[in-house]
Symmetry: C2
Subunit: 382 residues, 2 copies
């Protein structure tokens, strides 16, 4: 039986500032960054043993606001159907933390933040960052919350990459891992899609080498990047049932206006994106994703060797952006490395978006997995 | 045994002008267009009975130059591996014609042609055209060549759409049909990819509502559209074996330069495209493709009812732009309509590009199919 749970109600984003000079965070690329702010939210209560914390990590265009409602908002956080009282990540039982990424534009330090050395937004002076840099920053947040070991790290898409990096970089800090619709490294096709998005942004003259803050934004370029992204998040089937070849009701006289409903939908999503996302962040984060390679040149099984965390890997049949074979590769590497991993392939038509919408089956899997992880962790304590 | 044949050597593009006012071509959209020039090439010799003609039709960015070499060129036409003495479309036996499309930019009338009413390039004053308009124009070319019935119409991708339209619009003029890696209508996902390409072009300020002839071209926009196109022409597998995650040797200092080989390849293909293709043609032809719907609201089997032509349908397993299920739909409709159709699904890793590179198996299939079609046509004559 799948429980549907209730809403968290009103929540607020918090901000954790650290790496104040001269104690800046050393980045994988060799440069140093500080001070750093990470935006995060927490739901539920940390227990006395500080053993019920779950870290949720978001995808490319997500943020720290994973569940509940911000004051005055009509829509809840991006994974509200999975996080809350009685839901998969049950806030009656667990203390759920969702952290934004480094390089982001939703309250965390990124290219749109003010560079303390110049008093102006970083723009392209912001250093290239990696998934590991983000995970290192998040570890400071977990330290700040005085949590020795999180019960689980979970996330879909780029969130899944952070999950994998957490387990490999801080194996002693993670009891279990739930990477969903993700990969241990981008294939050239995945790099290629990101690169076309970046090129669309940089082709916009308003981009101006990243120096557009307070001026006209590269709206059109970001919109094209977002439209392309949306195609890859859906599946051929889900677009077929949502739009078919239906034309828009309000056909405009312009020859190359949006005639088909699918065109109108993509344009709408593209045009709205600029209101909530920074184009430079899109560049930095897609680069971090493209460079992410868990195997780090030594093979995936070697990278996972010695990991004690238990894995729940979830993939979706119609997800062609992060196809199931990529999660299967991680599952096989876990087996070779002696890591306890369960791989589940769900029969969804929603494509990559499935991790955001397939609530029932994911709830079922996650609920049982977290119960097992809780028992494991309690046994280890006793 | 597959024959490999020899080269046609030097060939030339020819031009057929018709629809001189007041006898303009009436377009599906209701407007009239004229005069019209179609660029075309022919290879081999028409026999005395004029019964050995094969019409070859090209894909989105193709042209009339299907085989042989233009004087001074290093590369042959786009289907040279399939057309020539001893090849699949054997010019020792057949008279092969390849016609450019209406709206094109390779010698045929299109948005870059001079509008006789203004003395300036049409730009967006060029009327919207359809696949059927192109087929109607090509029928004038076939009339001009005094061919009553072509032995075969063949083409891949958009070429396959023209093949299907030829058979349905002029059933008495076609003895057999070879649509390859094609579809009877675009799915919303296919429309979506075209729309992102169009939006990339129109987002370029140099596009200037299509009025850029003699000025700065919308190079960056067209380049982004082409890069996206290239991703959809290849497969995940073929990108994997061609590029993997290999980095470029000449890493540039710019943060968002092409680091991975796949990025360098796409940028190279994108930047070169502007030298040979008109951005407005990209808009017009992708729109024609998106609007193409062979079933025309009455169902595919009904559209094919009464067709005497024999079909050879070819699809490729790794083609995710025009997936095999779309060719299977046509094959099933042929069966329901009592049309003789053979469907072959080839096990290629090359994705949509397979129709341009999988020579051996296609040669085998086409050679035998054309022999049968030749016998049928001779029997009908006798």
């Amino acid at each position: 039986m799948v429980r549907h749970g209730t809403s968290l109600g009103i929540v607020e984003t918090k901000f954790f500032a650290f790496a104040h000079p001269p104690h800046e965070l050393e980045l994988e690329g060799g440069s140093r960054l500080g001070p750093i702010t990470l935006a995060y939210e927490t739901y539920g209560k940390l227990n006395a043993r500080r053993s019920n914390a779950i870290l949720i990590l978001h995808a490319l265009t997500g943020d720290a606001h994973a569940a509940g409602f911000h004051e005055g908002d009509r829509d809840p956080g991006w994974w509200d159907n999975m996080i809350g009282p009685g839901k998969a990540f049950d806030t009656d039982e667990y203390f759920v933390i969702c952290s934004n990424v480094l390089g982001g534009c939703k309250g965390s330090t990124g290219p749109s933040s003010v560079n303390p050395k110049t008093g102006r937004p970083y723009g392209l002076d912001f250093p290239l960052i990696t998934i590991k840099d983000t995970v290192n920053a998040q570890r400071h947040l977990i330290d700040h919350l005085r949590i020795d070991k999180v019960l689980a790290v979970a996330g879909g898409s780029m969130g899944g990459m952070q999950v994998l990096q957490w387990v490999v970089t801080y194996p002693e800090r993670v009891a279990s891992a739930i990477p969903i619709a993700s990969t241990a490294s981008h294939s050239p096709q995945q790099i290629a899609f990101n690169e076309v998005g970046r090129q669309a942004i940089m082709a916009d003259p308003n981009w101006n080498d990243g120096d557009y803050y307070g001026k006209d934004l590269p709206e059109k370029g970001l919109s094209v990047a977002r439209m392309l992204g949306h195609i890859t998040y859906m599946s051929d089937e889900s677009m077929g049932s949502k739009f078919g070849r239906r034309l828009r009701d309000d056909k405009q006289p312009f020859k190359f206006a949006a005639d088909f409903q699918v065109e109108g939908y993509l344009q709408y999503r593209g045009n709205n994106f600029i209101k909530r996302f920074d184009p430079n962040t899109y560049l930095y984060i897609t680069k971090a994703i493209d460079y992410f390679d868990l195997s780090n040149g030594k093979g995936l099984a070697a990278a996972l060797a010695g990991i004690k965390a238990r894995f729940l890997l979830i993939a979706f049949k119609s997800d062609w952006l992060y196809p199931p074979y990529q999660s299967q590769e991680i599952a096989r590497a876990c087996k070779r490395a002696g890591v306890d991993a369960t791989y589940c392939e769900l029969n969804s038509n929603y494509g990559h978006d499935a991790f955001l919408v397939e609530v029932d089956e994911q709830t079922h899997l996650v609920t049982h997995f977290l119960q097992k992880a809780t028992k494991d962790l309690a046994a280890a304590h006793d």
